[in-house]
Symmetry: C2
Subunit: 391 residues, 2 copies
Amino acid sequence: MRIKRIRMIGLVAVAALVLAGCGNLKNSSFGANSTSNTTTGSKTTTTTGTTTSDDYEGVIKNGQYRTSKSRGVNVSQNDNVMNLKSFEIGLLDVSKKVFSTDKYVMQEGQYLKSSTVENWLGRYSKSNQSGLNPKDNGKKGETTRNPIYLQQLEEQDYMVQNGSKLSLGGVTIGLGLNSVDYYTKVQYGATYETKISTTELTAQGKKMANKVLQRLRQRSSLKNVPIVLALYKQSSNDSLVGGNMIGYAVSKNGSTSVSDWKSLNWNNYVFPATSESKNAGANNNDESDFSSFKSHVQNFFPNLSGVTANAHYKDKSLSKLSVNITTKFYSETEIISFTQYVSTAAKRYLPSGVPVEITIKSANGDIQSFLARTAKGSSYYTHVFSDQGNN
Amino acid sequence: MRIKRIRMIGLVAVAALVLAGCGNLKNSSFGANSTSNTTTGSKTTTTTGTTTSDDYEGVIKNGQYRTSKSRGVNVSQNDNVMNLKSFEIGLLDVSKKVFSTDKYVMQEGQYLKSSTVENWLGRYSKSNQSGLNPKDNGKKGETTRNPIYLQQLEEQDYMVQNGSKLSLGGVTIGLGLNSVDYYTKVQYGATYETKISTTELTAQGKKMANKVLQRLRQRSSLKNVPIVLALYKQSSNDSLVGGNMIGYAVSKNGSTSVSDWKSLNWNNYVFPATSESKNAGANNNDESDFSSFKSHVQNFFPNLSGVTANAHYKDKSLSKLSVNITTKFYSETEIISFTQYVSTAAKRYLPSGVPVEITIKSANGDIQSFLARTAKGSSYYTHVFSDQGNN
């Protein structure tokens, strides 16, 4: 009985680690004692170590993480941080379709530096002929002006280990395209919006991706490697969920244009649905499961302020559910009991077969406790934080 | 190999659940289908369910958590939320020495209501003859005035299940005593401090505990149950760690006074030590282990803003380590790689044999990722949050 339980939880834990996307079981290696050190010139390159074959390892050089050459550009380009996070996670997910996590190590982009990316994100003009966004046509009307289509651009490098060396095995370029372009008519003036249809932003994105591809192919080191071009649709600034990947294409054998685009039907919704967000693409069963969970949990305390969820869909199937619960109270014993209760309620009501994460936070944003279950798991891993607060 | 790994993680997971203090494997029960429903009159009482025998279940009545009758009083009494959290956790830990988690269910205090606790926390005066703090002697000097010794008071009830009924099996009362009493000389004026020695606050606490005991014994329902009296030393308002339990006594067989106090040598420290906090009681090896971890981790990014830890000691042995890492960057791929790296570094450098929790947060307090290892575990459970932000 005891042994059975341990085995069952073992399976849960393995799946949990898969979900978590990181850890230290496989190839965890750094420092002088490591077996997977690779030497490039006199410098030491190692990898971060990872948990499972579902995740890429990262690249460490001389004890420091090899950060992107355009580090920080996309941070400043996003008013909604959810667009940054889901863009990068989406890029990893698309890359996994082409570059297997068994063979490839992920390196933050090393070929496009900040000034290059900043110029490409700008409007085309006499002084910035590499600008991918259309030139300013002088108009200020919401539908008459030329909007900014391309909001962020990211390069990810995929490395292969040859003996003791890491060499470039492929590149993924993501283009984040606005569904709403925010602008002002005068400096510090009111904000206006130009809405961009998915059809239009997709067409513009494909054109821009081909221009980017041509430019990359001119570099000798990128002349022949596979290049994945991925298009991402940014969500609006007031959205509680990030945007989503809408399509990708792979350029092989040094080709300088791609036309074979695969579309991705990935979507994010907020539960419960509001009159503004009708969640047309979400599964009704998932919504009613969540609603049962919510009403069960919301009665627990006299004043629980909110239970919402971000629901991620791939091809109309729920792929991940992130539940956010906000409490108005601090009492540690209440949080412990509440976490026990939520764990039971989640197991009973929330959809099975998909990864679920649940965070319980105080009204001021401090995390109080955390629960997670993997796609294959039936029980929840739970953790109550006792040393958080006054952050 | 595969099976071995699963078993190993299984053990980690079991231990993790023990640490987490909540879950849903044992007696998880609520609602009409539950086996552990108990009926008091026409009302349905159930329990929250818990993970392991190391934790108390909580009490649910008619689908709602049975909150304390003095709910919220201690929240308003604490400027440093760490004092509230560590007080409640400490009370649970002391209670476990007397009321086994196998036999008892924890119920938030039902006998002392808010107004009672508020009066007891007040100064003794003509209009508040139940005030436990000394009367105002009219003086304003830091050493001449009568300070407020008792800052917070909490009742926890421990219930036993008799057939289909829950009945009271014991009570724990915690008294939170100031090491620093903050006061103003005029309304809205500057804040002054009266420092109170541990010897003095302990003596005052014991006296007050005996008064509380006498009052509780006058109530017919509390006449004969075991009552645990626990003393807690509050940390200062600017402390990054909470205070700690300093002693307790058990009153049995309806006794109206206790004299057999057991002292507790529990302490909290912040790593790294500063010139102000010398961590005299902490183990030097633990501090140097943490320092190795910190320097290894801090080089990973160009700009990592902080690595600190709260170290909890019981009888001069490390009992728990909570590490807080603050990052200045948002990039999701960086957080994933960093979490992998931290997991490996923690396994290599941090003390083994004690539970460790590590949180990685952005500068604005959003949690980015979380790692935990149990006392018995060797590997870390890790989770990267992808749906947090804009909180």
